[in-house]
């Protein structure tokens, strides 16, 4: 009885007693969730267009953030005194680097493996992961770095709002992260749905030969998606980097995108968003209200359990396409 009370009643009583804490928890969950969505989006982009689960998405995020910070340091050393100028220049150069990476991946990895089974492409992305880890460490060194938050004009500090007889504190950085992520997600969704290139991306995802027959170039599309995934990786890298620091440990966070993908369906942009938010909020609420029951620390695995429960009811994910085939 006591256990049932602790599981089903007590957390809600707590929520009711301290609504300010509840709002704070929800907010933190939301921000975390939006950032998960952004990582998941990187996976979805590539999965949609080439049917490849890109294991390297996490390391691409780290690599992008490291490149940004590294290039910034180089530019400063070369005598660009204005931190701001150096930061934006570094940002532009990082985009160029991500484009070169996309191009190289297409040329050196995807093209030679065209028409191979998906599992082989999947393994190739493992190879890419280890290459990027090694290459990143070689160029930038292994020690954690500080994200150039101020130079990029990302806000610091927090806004404290008086509500429900308590304070809820909104980190300005979190607000910025949520806004940037939302804008990116909306832009990508629109791009996918409504433009020629977006349509071509989906066409390639559905059928290579049909796409070829209408004159869509697979090579071009692959460069575009990998570049888009690179941009997403850069944005996530900056945000996560600003919240902690820029190090290879960040790659672990990318694994959190997995339950998000299971929840949202591997092919759905809205799924990635909703899935991310559900996981983010569920995780924080679970940790805060139910965590103590299990001796805390449940945040690291709760996401997977949430995904598992959803899978029981909707095996195709929330928004995944249900494949109906005539037999």
């Amino acid at each position: 009885m006591d256990l049932l009370y602790q599981i089903f009643i007590d957390p809600f009583v707590q929520m009711g007693n301290a609504p300010d804490l509840l709002v704070q928890t929800l907010w933190e969950g939301l921000v975390g969730g939006v950032l998960y969505s952004l990582i998941a989006l990187g996976f979805v982009l590539i999965f949609k267009a080439s049917g490849v689960f890109n294991f390297a998405q996490g390391i691409m995020m780290v690599f992008a953030a490291l490149t940004l910070v590294g290039l910034y340091a180089v530019l400063r050393r070369w005598g660009i005194s204005s931190g701001e100028l150096a930061a934006y220049l570094a940002l532009a150069l990082t985009l160029v680097v991500m484009f070169i990476l996309a191009w190289a991946v297409e040329r050196l990895m995807l093209r030679p493996l065209v028409n191979q089974p998906d599992i082989i492409l999947f393994m190739a992305t493992f190879g890419l992961t280890y290459f990027l880890i090694g290459f990143g460490e070689l160029v930038f060194g292994g020690e954690p770095k500080v994200m150039i938050t101020d130079e990029l004009h990302l806000p610091r500090g927090s806004i404290d709002v008086n509500m429900f007889g308590g304070f809820v504190s909104f980190q300005k950085l979190d607000i910025a992260a949520a806004v940037i992520a939302s804008v990116m997600v909306a832009a990508l969704a629109l791009f996918f749905q409504k433009t020629r290139i977006g349509r071509a991306l989906r066409a390639v995802a559905d059928s290579h030969k049909a796409a070829l027959s209408v004159g869509i170039s697979l090579e071009y599309i692959w460069v575009v998606v990998w570049f888009a995934a690179g941009i997403v990786a850069l944005a996530t890298g900056i945000m996560w980097g600003a919240r902690s620091d820029v190090s290879f440990a960040l790659e672990i966070i990318a694994l959190k995108a997995l339950p998000v993908l299971i929840l949202g369906g591997f092919t759905s942009v809205p799924g990635a968003i909703v899935g991310g938010v559900i996981i983010g909020i569920g995780e924080k609420l679970g940790e805060f209200y139910w965590g103590p029951l299990l001796g805390s620390g449940i945040e690291s695995w709760l996401a997977y359990v949430i995904a598992l429960i959803f899978l029981l009811f909707r095996p195709q994910g929330l928004f995944g396409e249900r494949i109906i085939e005539r037999i």
């Binding site: 433009t195 020629r196 349509r199 049909a210 070829l212 209408v214 004159g215 575009v224």
Partner: protein
């Protein structure tokens, strides 16, 4: 239906010709030394028993397969092989034997995808989807609506193609090919698996496309009635060899064709 005779046929210039094309996969010879041409404005049928190399031939024309030997001349340009992009860009559209649609997309998006090559605005305009890119999208949408009207699929334009019955999927696939405004349309068994009524509809559409848009059509078909009614000239393949080429009547009378279809007493 019209009855082609030798005088009306063979008027147009040669649009595409294949010369001495051979294609093999490892030790298996799919096509050996086949030559024929397709003239502007005609309906050209490619027929033959199963495994005759008909689909392989279309794949060669369309650039999916690269023949080991031979030449392909399309619009005066001779190549040893086509590339799918070159073929599409040059105005060759096709449909597939087992419908190859973009299953996750609506009918409208499928047909719009056929306009890909006609749309010019670059990546960054597309990203913005504003100004010229938006105008372009609207303009192409108008054209696609005409095709939708033409094929009488107005009521299903928002439906995901995966949910459509087979006959309609084939029609949508034809629509996607038409959206490319092709000079040469390759149809791989456009009527396979259809009932009589659907076949009649499809025949009507094929003739209309040929007459109204002046599109040259090359088609593979097993239904002999349909082939004889529709086509101006027929080429017959058997085991990768060309065994006959001519008007439907000539082909029907050919002993080699009869043998290929009915077998020969040994």
């Amino acid at each position: 239906m019209r009855a082609p005779d030798a005088s009306t046929v063979a008027v147009g210039d040669v649009l595409l010709s294949v010369e001495d094309v051979s294609l093999s996969f490892g030790g298996v010879k799919a096509i050996s030394d086949v030559s024929f041409d397709i003239r502007k404005g005609e309906i050209r049928a490619i027929i033959g028993p199963n495994g005759a190399g008909k689909t392989s031939m279309l794949n060669v024309i369309n650039g999916f397969y690269h023949p080991q030997m031979g030449r392909i001349t399309f619009r005066g340009k001779t190549r040893s092989k086509m590339r799918p992009f070159e073929a599409a860009y040059g105005g060759i559209a096709r449909t597939f034997q087992n419908v190859a649609l973009f299953r996750g997309m609506s009918v409208l998006d499928n047909i719009m995808a056929g306009r890909t090559l006609k749309m010019r605005r670059g990546f960054f305009w597309q990203l913005l989807r504003f100004g010229p890119a938006l105008r372009e999208e609207v303009e192409h949408r108008r054209h696609v609506e005409e095709i939708i009207d033409f094929l009488k699929i107005q009521d299903i334009r928002r439906v995901h193609v995966g949910r459509l019955p087979y006959g309609l999927q084939k029609r949508v696939e034809l629509g996607r090919a038409l959206a490319m405004e092709p000079d040469l349309l390759l149809l791989d068994e456009p009527m396979a698996g259809m009932n009589v009524e659907e076949k009649e509809d499809m025949s009507r559409f094929i003739l209309d496309v040929n007459e109204h848009f002046g599109t040259t059509i090359a088609l593979i078909e097993h239904d002999m009635g349909v082939v004889m009614d529709l086509s101006d000239r027929v080429v017959v393949l058997d085991h990768g060899n060309k065994i006959a080429d001519g008007t439907p009547d000539e082909v029907k009378a050919s002993q080699a064709v009869i043998d290929a279809y009915l077998g020969v007493a040994h």
